[in-house]
Point group: C2
Chain length 442, copies 2
Amino acid sequence: MSEQNPLDLPEGDPFGPHNLPYGVFSPAGSADPAAGSASGSAAGSAAGSAAGAAGGSAPVAEGRRVGVRLGSYVLDAGAAAAALGSPYVSLLAQPTLNPLLAAGRRTWSDVRRALTTWVTVPAHRDAIRPLLHPLSDVTLHLPFDVADYVDFYASEHHASNLGRMFRPDAPAPLTPNWKHLPIGYHGRSGTVVVSGTDVVRPTGQRKTPADATPVFGPSAKLDIEAEVGFVVGAPSTLGTPVPLADFREHVFGLCLLNDWSARDIQAWEYVPLGPFLGKSFATSVSAWVTPLEALDAARVAPPERTEPLLPYLDDSAESASDGPGGYDLRITVTLNGEVVSNPPFSTVYWTAAQQLAHMTVNGASLRTGDFYGSGTVSGPSPDQFGSLIELTWNGRDPLELPSGKRTFLEDGDVVTLSAWAPGPGGTRVGLGEVTGRVAASR
Amino acid sequence: MSEQNPLDLPEGDPFGPHNLPYGVFSPAGSADPAAGSASGSAAGSAAGSAAGAAGGSAPVAEGRRVGVRLGSYVLDAGAAAAALGSPYVSLLAQPTLNPLLAAGRRTWSDVRRALTTWVTVPAHRDAIRPLLHPLSDVTLHLPFDVADYVDFYASEHHASNLGRMFRPDAPAPLTPNWKHLPIGYHGRSGTVVVSGTDVVRPTGQRKTPADATPVFGPSAKLDIEAEVGFVVGAPSTLGTPVPLADFREHVFGLCLLNDWSARDIQAWEYVPLGPFLGKSFATSVSAWVTPLEALDAARVAPPERTEPLLPYLDDSAESASDGPGGYDLRITVTLNGEVVSNPPFSTVYWTAAQQLAHMTVNGASLRTGDFYGSGTVSGPSPDQFGSLIELTWNGRDPLELPSGKRTFLEDGDVVTLSAWAPGPGGTRVGLGEVTGRVAASR
């Protein structure tokens, strides 16, 4: 424990009591056979293993517990609830966020209100202080058991850039359906890993028009996708769609997401049934889930819609939702420590509420732990593109970095996404970063 | 309990002691709030709810237990293990097959050998008889918690038929990648439901070239897909591919699968990222998982490969696998009780072992409960097509049935898939049927 009073956070700390993101951690020295060997750092990097994503069939290590981030500390939330006699101990003294996620919106608000009291009211200081662990001493885990994982394609600038690259002869960069529905597909939930987990370069088939037959080997076009992911808490009933206005009844919070992509594998496999092995090898998520309630000051109107929408997607009427559907999240992408892009999430065309309404309009049900990504976030200008394939225009214009020239990722490269959003009263709300290092193919 | 000695099964019963498929059931009268209201029948129909698919986050009803089918009875496998002092009680006295699935191949064999002894050795008859429940008295549930669900597209006849219909101007019915890799995509595991569950007609967007803008409403082209699904037991390590030869170390068994499809929704949404809402509303699986060990006599060589394969998919060498990769499963599709097709699984081009090797070649890990479908099984002749879109050639040639003319499914239609495979000594091995009724959109 630091000598400094950890509740006296620096003025303007983006992880102050106005934020309170949730994660799952093991304290220093706790035995956790499922955890990776690296420990977390104050910057929020973390290590875990695929076992953390194994859902109900994984053995849950005893050391794991729900934590709430405060500055560069983690509050043991279940222990705090127990120490203060809170009824929420049953939701917080858990090895995963799923019980809290399943509890629903009213409980999410009540728990957040209680936590705010615990960390701000001076009378609780002596009880809370011993329950704070320096981030640098803990191991961070995948915060929730991922049920289904869906990835959208909601940034108009990203989709247009890829259309220009891959369908140069098409009448328009966007496919005809793009402005009518948020295009998405299911990804692999079993390979969602927590920030800090190494990403092994995938191996597979690729074939360019110049190749007579497919070539096999490690991907030569390993890329990043800077995204925002939304975490579903409350489930829904099979056969019954979830309307736009119910978004905040079901979605608990959001986090940063790097949907690593092997462009060469994807290009050869994806017609006609979509991406598969080009994406399924790893998806990295932040160790911290920011509740939507912490982001009320960041809500903004989405971009102007240039095609009329069917009623189930039309968020232009006041009654369709309980506020603007966009979020003003300022993302930064670094490669080996150098900033390569600043994608603005506010420019994304389809909102998370529209994605949820679309995903369920056919009657598909939601489960606690469902997780869906926005798709790559790219702004209109080249320094706002959220993938290397856009930043280098499919390798034509390499990035010149101190660590060398880059078209796609090389073994040993470290990619980190971070972000902040406007908070109440001029504050900033920090999002937990997501970082990963590329390891050589096995 | 029947007066007839249930262990004296009729000669040649396809669910005799040479079969022993596993499921999960609740006995008559047990309270199970998550179960549907319908009860099973001797024919194997069953009812369940989406909660059965909710994995680790679902409350597991106390009445659920592992059962083994014997003729028209279910043996309470955990109770049998307890009665006979077997060490396998911890794997079998469970509300889901997942602990057994996770135990691995050697244990699967040992448990199967024990079960065979229990139901065939006369000395055990008095202990076993009271633990048999008539199928008509029990409720059958989703037998395992589904982790990731993947659907392949492995039948050459099916893929060619769809290519001819949808890409008539293409140089060939198959896409250029089709003979080089088993094309697949991830589906929604949260909407996998057990046989007997009603399927609510999905609502969504569709747009034909004749429509100026998308049309919204219940799908007008609801279809079936007759498939075989493979159940993964033993997990694998993230970053490390599973070779062809290790197929039977990881895959426990198979079952019939109806991957309901809304062709009109799918046609409008699927470019460029593949099927999404056209498939995600429901996938029905049999209540019974047949262990691969029961199907050794059904193993056959797959169709001749007409393109050379990369080494990780090449099953032509003896050393690549431990036997032929195909399975001779004879499927029957009925619509409102009338046989409409007899798809032969032996004609499917890509084997389940090749699908597993492909699915993991990029390093994607397997989890206990991963489930993958073959894609629609269609034979070469029109009475062997596994979907209505093929049987009616996209509605051009309606089926004339006693229940009326059909292009696609109407509300109230009941679709049932059943199958058998050659067993040892001239027996037949029955697969559990999968049935479902179409309910009107809500």
